[in-house]
Subunit: 359 residues, 4 copies
């Protein structure tokens, strides 16, 4: 195959590839190994819609990570992975218990309700993490037709607030949920960061502790695009293929999703990328902790740092580096690190923060 | 940037890139220029969810093709493009008139009904093409609350049967529909093949004759993945961005969808790919016409050949080349050509057909 | 209880109770025995939402008609009965095969699609009746995720065209459908008219020949309002109570729906009403057959007469009696008889028709 | 018309009309004037689906109460009224802000999400009442496609906790919402009790202070069944008739819904019923306040009394009178009074409470 760098294309570069910020891990591009993998999978014909050799091979890789019952269903994006999962785990009359801060509740444009007809039964949490006690605030009324029936508990690992459940915490949630006839879904848009943080294989806090289905995130882990619904407990879902299709998440040239997941998961690219992003967040947190006037809000356990600082400082700093307010009224911001964040990026950011706070 | 071919990846090649068939244009991989374009767009940080420089630049390219009011909304796949379009063009109480053979009716797993709540009002056609007369079989009862309200006419160009509307035919449909207060959507999963067939710019049979919104197909034209809803008449849609998001078709790293569309549309890659696929279908049709016992079913105007031949011949032939039955009872088959189909592929196929029919 | 006729009410009579037409059996009011039954059930408190004594008692009556496994779920209206039934019989990915002329397809405002997310797979029929052969036009592709999965066949008895399936015809449909893993729903908005026409108990063409679930029509049979989903095969449905509730068809004061069904079904009011309406349609058909220039279109087997006559005659006649065009272009009209249609009504109508046709 | 009491019916009385409890105002039957009104509207033919003389007449009555722009759309039940209203007030991408305790959130089986695809953005409240400040916790992000767009604020009058908004409180909510481009819906399942409590016409706290659409409750006010969506601001809704139909809330014999609303609203039956129920709740509250060990939880402003008392006392009391736990863990109960609750009922209940608490 010809070197893509030498192939003429009518497309042009429109951006400066040296500029990075702390806005989101999906502001990053794709890891070079991902592009190499796509090039490998290119050429010739492969059956469309998932019957290709790459998707078949992916199953063995996924079983290696999650155990022999695991099956992967590649999809396009995280909202798709979550909403396909939740539809497959619920009936028409089902509802999903989740944290008020869950991505499915606050960041998916109402897709669970609109596409899945799902009611979300939400619970406020101090740190983005559910517990059996918090679940119980919504876990009742299964026989009451006046209430959407709680059938699934959905947790996010790591959470939207950058915190990480321990395996025991997830085990307790799964046991509690299963005892009440509910299944457990794990939104793993950043599951690699959680594994890196815990220093354990992904199975340790998923299949081994009772999680039924998870959304595996590739995009934020360095892929071009692409996630997978990973079914750990086959009895927990129905008609995955039909639901993926009718939810408009079935890629025709699926080999190109699957080979990206292979590039991440066949070796340790997933872990290298996650460890690096986490390490950069630790470096950032350490740098920031030394700065007066900045408060770190949650334990920094993955690749996110949430902080509170004067609003005007944030505004000035945003002119130098991209990042978002999390709660503008409170002055809370979120700084995300990615697989391509460098030590220099972090150090320059901390320096800039110090300069702005000193003004 | 390093040559991807030299980058180590844990992914492996699992297929033979020399094997091609006639099953579908989405069995092909991506054109090398597409991969080169993706590599160009990689590196550094770009705003996610469509505010990147590539998506912005794409707008100018699309305006160049379709006119100054055109706006592109990149999405993941064809079903997504269609269902987002149709939702944006209808109210909760709306319905869509289409050919019985339309992809939205027979190949999208019920996504229009399930995701969009849309009723499709279908009409049988001889060749996949609607006409004002055929539309009128379903175009009535706008004030009748007992009937889902016809708000959109959706046509496919080229059609699922490989036929191509002339610009005048589309103009007549648009005028007829607009007079009755209905908008026109064009499913352009293979719009490039139609343009190549007609030998006119895409605007000649879309924006210039009254089409309001179209789904522009990149995947079957040589992209890795990626389509775009192209809004030609801004008054025909509402809240495109919200509908794309809640329909789970919003790519976070959208630059990689947009740059593929740029690679196709900035120059003539779209047209080169389509012309080639069409030419291969012509070559195939010519080769087959000479064979006794094979009947070509529809005019071969794009990259598809539909034929009727003895069932056992097809079955033996399928062991040598992949392709699909279209109507197994009738013995009808579909042979699709792609941007990467070679003259040798066609000639070998025709030869094989002759051998099998002679047995 | 006081005589309602002697009770002062601020409501007034706004219509002439002597005027009747042939537009629809739901233009009629309620049979006096229905009002008497409602008065009986009034007073005191009864548990809401279906746990009342009338709904409980109804179960025995329904079992008497349909067999020991039958269970009734009272709902508000026919669309509600159909859409609740079909949701309970299908999965999220299911589709329903029905005649193109089926009420669920043409007269329910898209409720099956909008509320149930259901795709209807329709088949044209000569007389509103499906057959195994007609069903097979849509009965395929269960494993194909690109196609909404056919899970239910829905027939209407009597049909929207006034024709009546024989028990053997329904048995053949049920056997054919069950062999293919599909369930059978019967839209019985006018099931009483069908039973009266066939001269058999309702079980003879429902539970005894394999129908799984039916919508039992009370409104057109003389009730104020109210229908019931009658589940004949409990294995064919799931979560009926939850689906009725979330479909907004759960009456709080359900005793008043149930007692109307009791008034119809505990004795023979249902049959008296249906026989009378059917007899009036026969009288009408006989009167009309003698008139030159009027063609009766379908066998008159229930309470409907479909006829073709000159358009201007219909228009003049409509100024004297209410009725509807069925196909205005063709000059087809529909004349419906009701439980309260009198012989004089029919005779006057036939006379008027003769007068108008003579002009 | 014959006296229904003298008409033979095959239905039988299955309950004791002397037994009443405090479980719900929809455990009561219908007021005798309602049955008299239905008898008046019976007989003869009337156009189905809402073009009857009773529905037409109802419009004038509703305008008399709510002002000249008001229009009523009769429906079957409260969930139907709410979900039709909210669909008519929102786009596909819309969301509804409401109290966490709102009926639409906790008692409608997920119908808003399932039927309407609506996301509810909920806010905890101390007493079931929203305020501008509470609304602001969810009123943001209109341009953010990642968030379902807040388009409607829905309040309940009186609230599910028996509290009543003052006209000024509703005015403040309407002004606040309108300033932010949101419309206001009022769930008036017990609007009559609110008007009776405030001692003002219903317009004083609806049309005159900016409410756009309301659900008018007939069932809990003494009707057999039947509610109406009352559109106060025609610009706030679209396609009401289509949405009512596709939401399966269109009664064919609508005259019988409309005449019940006429019976309530043409004179003062609505107010007599509500005042009586409220008075009984006051009598109950006064009786209970004197009892040690019972705490009344919210201001008793309508026909509900919420109380906290020892769990075992409630359980013993429930064997004598029907009522529900509201929060079983906390020992909270709800006692509802109805139009047919008598002073003797209340006094007997208070006596029984005293007896049980003394045990």
């Amino acid at each position: 195959m010809a070197d893509p760098a030498t192939i003429r294309t009518d497309a042009q570069r429109h951006h400066d590839p040296q500029i990075r910020g702390f806005a989101s891990d999906n502001y990053a591009g794709a890891h070079p190994e991902i592009l190499a993998a796509i090039a490998l999978a290119n050429g010739g014909h492969q059956i469309a819609y998932g019957e290709d050799d790459y998707t078949e091979n992916l199953q063995q890789i996924v079983k290696g990570h999650f155990g022999p019952t695991a099956e992967a269903f590649p999809v396009f994006n995280g909202t798709g992975a979550n909403v396909v999962s939740l539809q497959a785990m619920t009936d028409r009359w089902g509802a999903v218990i989740c944290a008020e801060s869950a991505h499915i509740n606050v960041d998916e444009g109402g897709a669970p309700e609109r596409v899945g007809g799902l009611k979300l039964l939400t619970v406020p949490t101090p740190d983005g993490k559910l517990t059996p006690e918090l679940i119980d605030r919504q876990a009742y009324g299964w026989d009451d037709e006046h209430r959407a029936m709680p059938q699934v508990v959905s947790i996010t690992q790591n959470t939207e607030l950058g915190t990480v459940y321990t395996p025991d915490e997830i085990r307790a949630i799964c046991e509690h949920s299963h005892e009440r006839g509910m299944k457990v879904h794990l939104d793993g848009a950043r599951i690699a960061n959680a594994a890196a943080s815990l220093g354990v294989p992904v199975r340790t806090f998923t299949s081994e502790v009772g999680v039924d289905v998870l959304s595996f995130g590739g995009t934020k882990n360095g892929a071009l695009f692409g996630e997978a619904v990973v079914v750990l407990n086959p009895d927990a879902v129905r008609a995955m293929k039909h639901l993926r299709k009718l939810s408009m998440q079935l890629a025709s040239k699926m080999r190109f999703v699957s080979v990206q997941l292979e590039a991440l998961l066949a070796g340790d690219l997933w872990l290298r990328n996650a460890r690096h992003a986490n390490a950069m967040a630790q470096r950032l947190a350490e740098g920031v902790r030394a700065v007066d006037g900045v408060e770190i809000l949650y334990p920094v356990q993955a690749n996110a740092v949430f902080a509170r600082l004067p609003h005007d400082v944030s505004e000035r700093l945003q002119k130098r580096f991209r990042f978002y307010f999390w709660d503008e009224t409170a002055g809370d911001v979120r700084w995300m690190c990615s697989f391509d964040t460098t030590e220099d990026d972090v150090d320059a950011f901390v320096l800039a923060l110090k300069e702005e706070i000193a003004k």
